[in-house]
Amino acid sequence: MMVPDTFEDAARCVCGRCPSKPEEMKGFYCARGESTKDIMKRGCICGECDVQIDYDLMTEYYCEVGAAV
């Protein structure tokens, strides 16, 4: 399911706390698409995110695979 890029959902996003998040301002990758940086996989916390639950998302590392569709 696509995730709309709204402030309400962005405020629930946990990307900022993720150990794999690259050094960049962009986050909320399930809505905004993948990072252009290399992702060093140190764990993914998408599964802990209320956005993931509410939109029935099943994938991890949206920072690498791109926005949910």
Binding site: A10, R12, V14, M25, G27
Partner: protein, 165 residues
Amino acid sequence: MSDTMKNLADAFAGESQANRSYLAFAKAAEDEGLAEVAKRFRVAAASETVHALNHLKVMGGIKDTAANLVAAMGGENHEHTSMYPGFIEQAKAEGNEDAKFSFWAANEAEKVHEKMFALAADKMADLPESTFYVCEVCGMTYENDAPDACVVCSAPKSQIPEFVA
């Protein structure tokens, strides 16, 4: 505009940029464990601030608060309605993702700033006391409460500290 007035405007811009650059350089020096180098950057930054403010004062750029708020609103409005949207499109066209997000993040904050100034212009001395929070990562500004994650950059609440004037 006379040449000197233009020079004052250029000098104000240059000194302002030097101030911010030196503060960033100081942080980088501190991160490298070079405290005395950092101190020199911070000293120079403080000096450049004095220069910038002197130039602005001579230019007549500081008026009463009602006029200053109008000027501030105009600047913020220009940034989020004209300047940044054009910059974002250009960054997209050039495929510069970092620049696009940097512009977009600033653009979102400028909208908040314009509203903040508009309310201040409307209420002036009757403004209620507020607490503000500024995201350390992207600069998004929040009044009275910070979200669990920044709505612009998803930085956690711990990186959205209360602003202390």
